[in-house]
Amino acid sequence: MAVAIKSFGLTDKGKIRQTNQDNFLIVDIRKSVLIRHTSLPKEALSREFGSADAHLFVVADGVGGGPRGDRASEATVAALLEYASETVDLFNGVDSPNEQSLFDRLEDRVREVHQALLDEYGRQPGQSPATTLTMVLLIWPRAYLVHVGDSRAYVRRGGELQQLTRDQTLGEYLISSGTWTEEEAARSRPGALLSSAIGGPTLEPTVGLIDLDPGDSIMLCTDGLTKHVKVKRIAELMENAADVEGVARKLVDEALANGGTDNVSVIVVTAVQ
């Protein structure tokens, strides 16, 4: 089934912050092979060249209040852009043993950026710039996720919006370990501290995947969106998700209208039949 991947990204520094420490990236990666004439059957061609596209989507939120958060998010996004060119060998589908290699390489790249930031700025807590990262590498129909920090990825399927990532914050950790209730975490400022960040004291990337269906949408965002727009409202705004630009603009506009206290970045991706 032919599926087109439509995507649009947007970032705004918000109404309070002087700078924008968020960065985002959308990459279409193509291996182009043009067959003029052939006696080969169609099935053989689709096996070889059927899924010749990959797409990389990244949002990164430089940690505000720390030194050079913008540097951390830029370095992370740039490193993943470089990674994109290495994925060409995966275009014809990722088999099971290679799938682990793909995750390993992605995670290695994330750890290299983390290490480079620590080497450049120092290892004491607070010395190094830090950033979140939420990225999706889509090799249709499979979307591979790597996630660090409190930016988020959602999938919208059949009108229902579900969160693919779990925030890596102190609050979430303490809730998960049974130490805090959700109410306690919401009340506490330290609850929002990142428990894992690129360039931070701890880095624990989480990985996952989901096979998409035609019509599904994925939305990546920094916390500048989710601190101002409730999930239920995000789901409403994503109703016409085929209009990826329109939806991205509505989401950012609503975050700004509701306070815009932080930088906000959004990527909307829809698989259109």
Partner: protein
Amino acid sequence: MIQKKICMVGLFGTGKTCLVQRYVHSIFSNRYLSTVGVKIDRKEVQVGDQTIKLMLWDLEGRDGVRDVNASYISGAHGVIYVVDGTRPETLDGVYDIRNNVTSALGEIPSVVAFNKTDLTDSWKLDESDETGVGTRGMHGFRTSAKTGDGVEDAFQWLAQATLKNGGK
């Protein structure tokens, strides 16, 4: 290092993610967050003189769905079927899922985790339910992600079985 892909499967809310959290991170949460797609965790285990890297694929369990996405289980070396001991229907669900897994992968080392043994007052399975999995070629373990009882044993047994089953 030898890597083994282990899939966690079972109906909705049986505790698949909690078992992985307990095994890999030694934590337990009462809060229920459903898995969307697949979450992947890793853990290195020692079997004899060999170190094995277990790739733990925690598959979403959908309400009432007794099938499993064949592309998610492709290439798996072992499976942990998770049953909620307070909900007997989740054992029936496992038998349906097991048929689908076997159709796709053939016979591979398999464990049934009879989970939530800490909920003693609500436990609904009897001994024949638990021994019954043995006659179907699976190895049963009573587990509690909350207390950690049986969790290490279940994963360790499966790691060993995948190694015996060959394929590096």
